[in-house]
């Protein structure tokens, strides 16, 4: 996937543009522009207003979901949509294993399952830009990336094992009122592969490539933000049917800038 295919995803979002009400368990995020890690200097990404789940989806949330939608149960899921390890930490279709916690983020879920969950709740997965936009905030600032402490806290998490076993809501609430973007699990994004780090990340720096290069000095805007490099590398390593011990998700919902403004479809 690349920037062009990304455009095809936009109509998918339009479905949700009719939802306006502030939703329970979601935080409003005022849109804006920001400089993402990838792309050349001056390439800013625009983010519209939206709402984001305050917490990642938990095991309990996901049990409720598969109770309602049996096709996403451990025993019933199509191999095309999820690999063997799907809900590996669950005892059976509706119960988690001993030692797991209902209030821990659900992991071992595929992109297909995460996407279905959000859609069935009238939401969708966040785009990489939306996720990164919210995740660049710390407790005080909407963009804390220049603060050394911001990077250090994220890296400290990367170096702490088994954080996926923790329960939600224990990390500090960020500027937008959102918890756990850092410190708990990686999270699926809708277009996780649109910013690509290929298996051989070092060659993505070629002049012909207008994609982000994970490791090359040429492509990135902030070489010291290596915590973000690792996120982009992670996204580049997964496929939509993968299910991973450290990977969960949360949902978002678009919210137009003005309530009565007519919707322009692309």
């Amino acid at each position: 996937m690349n920037a062009i295919t990304f455009r095809f995803l936009i109509p998918l979002f339009a479905v949700n543009w009719f939802c306006h009400a502030q939703s329970e368990g979601m935080a409003f995020v005022k849109g804006g522009s920001y400089l993402p890690l990838y792309g050349s200097k001056g390439t800013v990404a625009e983010v519209e207003n939206f709402e984001m789940d305050v917490h990642p989806v938990t095991n309990a949330d996901f049990i409720a979901f598969v109770t309602q939608y049996p096709q996403w149960r451990k025993s019933a899921v199509k191999k095309l949509f999820a690999e063997d390890n799907y809900l590996y930490h669950w005892k059976n279709d509706l119960e988690i294993k001993d030692g797991e916690h209902l209030k821990s983020p659900v992991t071992y879920v595929s992109w297909f399952a995460a996407k279905a969950y959000c859609e069935c709740r009238g939401k969708r997965l966040p785009t990489v830009d939306e996720w990164e936009y919210v995740a660049m905030a710390d407790e005080k600032l909407p963009d804390a990336r220049i603060k050394a402490s911001y990077n250090q806290q994220i890296l400290a998490w990367y170096e702490t094992p088994k954080t996926h076993k923790n329960t939600i809501g224990k990390t500090p609430k960020n500027y937008w009122g959102v918890y756990d973007l850092h410190g708990l699990v990686w999270e699926w994004t809708l277009d996780f592969n649109s910013v690509l780090i290929s298996g051989e990340s070092r060659k993505d720096s070629g002049k012909d490539s207008n994609l982000f290069c994970g490791s090359a000095a040429i492509g990135a805007t902030d070489l010291m933000n290596y915590a973000a490099f690792m996120r982009y590398a992670f996204r580049g390593s997964v496929k939509a049917r993968y299910t991973i011990k450290n990977l969960g998700f949360r949902c978002v919902r678009s919210r137009k800038n003005t309530e009565n403004k007519p919707i322009k479809l692309p």
């Binding site: 390890n85 250090q152 890296l155 400290a156 990367y158 170096e159 094992p161 088994k162 990686w186 780090i197 290929s198 298996g199 051989e200 990340s201 070092r202 060659k203 290069c213 994970g214 490791s215 070489l223 010291m224 290596y226 490099f229 690792m230 982009y232 590398a233 992670f234 580049g236 390593s237 997964v238 993968y242 299910t243 991973i244 011990k245 450290n246």
Partner: protein, 491 residues
């Protein structure tokens, strides 16, 4: 003859010479074959086998004369906390649970089926770039693997040599700096010549938030890494990985081969073994053989094979001869050689004589307790301390360092030393008789060898007075009489 270059015999000598040669060869070859390739019996001629992988400093069994085959390499990536130095821990990213990663041994023509497994507990995706691979990214492109997944790819090893492998996932430098590198050996057809001992050593530079020696779990420091200012430069992943109990060993008369790699990420290594000369170096791990080399340069992401015969017993110290790295950042290892001494090769100290420019040599002084009588002993405790400082700088400084701080993992500190302050007679005995075996100093274990010091009772009293009156020690006074008493008890 260079084993990496399989030159065919090209000359056209006289018939007689040829026959003579054949006869000679027929008589000599049987024994030689047996000597060089006895170990091939252990490697039967299979079409497909699982490769033996070893942790440093061990290496797998030699390939010998076996035919090329399909070799299955199964390597697991583990992100786990380990010890960088005493009290200093670090989250290493590893191939096979060690830094450097498991050693892979192949021969030219092998087809390697590589299984790269990313443990489900790991946080990050990884891949592997093997410099022995001819193909995009050295395999990195085909092996990019998410946690809880396994990637399989295969390659044929075309060129003999010693090659580095490493992770090449973004940010590449960080993956290497966290320990993701190792060596793969591709033996030439027929194998490398047999040696008695083979070891696997790899240098790496590490960048921690705290400065060298700062205790606790240390985070990676990107700024220092970009600036190429490492806090640790070490062999086999940590300070002391090759000292004390972990020292590599050999016996007098044996040939030692070290597969020496440099994972970097930044520094090149000036690899040297103190007190040895490399009889042979396969420069940069390739086909060029150099002989009689003191120090060989190993680029970051490069390797060398060094070989030497150990002739005399003792401790031989492996260092990066960019020497502050060795004595201040950890790039120091030990090769302990046991066996009979050989006085013609190395005599040890024979005698000590006085020296005064322009004057005729007056007296030959045997290095025994007589010296005490021959020299004017220092009188006051103050004079004793001053005289002791000179002895210290000549004799003790190299190991125990200028401020008595010692070298972590290798030589114990004398500053504020509980071991020293606890027992003055023991301290005297250590200087007199040396010390071997494990001791605990200020809560940390040391296991290296201090040789007996060839000093007079007066000099021993002086140097101990200096040590006891420096660096926060107990200020105990030590007199030659005390030393003589301990010496006589020994006798």
């Amino acid at each position: 003859m260079n084993p990496f270059i399989q030159n065919k015999f090209r000359g056209r000598p006289y018939k007689l010479l040829v026959y003579g040669f054949i006869i000679l060869f027929a008589f000599s070859c049987e024994k030689k074959e047996k000597e060089a390739y006895a170990y091939t019996a252990k490697t039967p001629d299979l079409k497909e086998t699982k490769a033996e992988l070893t942790s440093p400093p061990r290496v797998p069994e030699p390939v010998g004369k076996r035919r090329a085959r399909k070799l299955i390499v199964e390597m697991e990536i583990l992100e786990e906390e380990g010890e960088m130095a005493d009290g200093v821990s670090y989250v290493y990213w590893t191939f096979g649970g060690t830094v450097p990663g498991s050693f892979i041994r192949t021969r030219v023509g092998d087809e390697v089926e590589f299984h790269l497994k990313n443990h489900p507990d790991n946080k990050l995706p990884h891949n592997i770039d093997l410099h022995a691979v001819t193909g995009p990214g050295g395999g990195a492109e085909s092996s990019f693997v998410a946690p809880g997944h396994e990637k399989v790819f295969s390659f044929k090893v075309l060129n003999p040599g010693l090659y580095v492998y490493h992770c090449a996932t973004a940010p590449v430098g960080m993956h290497i700096a966290n320990g993701m590198y190792g060596l793969i050996l591709v033996e030439p057809e027929g194998g490398l010549p047999l040696v008695d001992k083979e070891y696997y050593v790899m240098q790496g530079d590490f960048y921690t938030k705290g400065k060298n020696g700062e205790k606790g779990l240390q985070a990676f420091d990107m700024r220092k890494a970009v600036d190429e200012r490492p806090d640790y430069v070490v062999f086999n992943g940590k300070v002391g990985a090759l000292t004390g109990d972990n020292a590599i060993t050999a016996n007098v008369g044996e040939t030692v081969r070290i597969y020496m790699g440099n994972g970097g990420p930044n520094l090149v290594s000036s690899f040297h073994v103190i007190g040895e000369i490399f009889d042979k170096v396969y420069a940069e791990g390739g086909s060029l053989e150099n002989e009689n080399v003191q120090t060989t340069l190993i680029p970051a992401g490069g390797a060398a094979i060094v070989e030497f015969r150990v002739e005399v017993p003792g401790s031989f110290v492996l260092v990066d001869h960019s020497i502050f790295r060795a004595f201040n950042k950890g790039a120091l290892g030990m090769l302990n050689v046991q066996g009979e001494g050989n006085k013609t090769i190395y005599s040890g100290e024979l005698r000590e004589e006085t020296y005064q420019p322009g004057e005729k040599k007056t007296r030959s002084v045997p290095a025994t307790e007589e010296i005490a009588e021959l020299r004017a002993p220092a009188r006051s405790p103050e004079e004793r301390v001053n005289a002791g400082k000179q002895v210290y700088m000549q004799t003790c400084f190299a190991c125990h360092q200028a401020e008595g701080q010692g070298i972590p993992g290798a030589f114990p500190p004398l500053a504020k030393s509980d071991f020293l302050n606890a027992d003055v007679n023991r301290a005297i005995d250590v200087v007199l008789s040396g010390l071997t075996g494990e001791i605990t100093v200020n809560g940390e274990k040391y296991n290296s060898i201090m040789t007996p010091q060839n000093l007079s009772d007066d000099e021993i009293a002086n140097v101990l007075a200096y040590i006891y009156n420096s660096w926060g020690n107990s200020k105990k006074n030590v007199t030659p009489a005390m030393v003589t008493k301990v010496r006589n008890k020994k006798l």
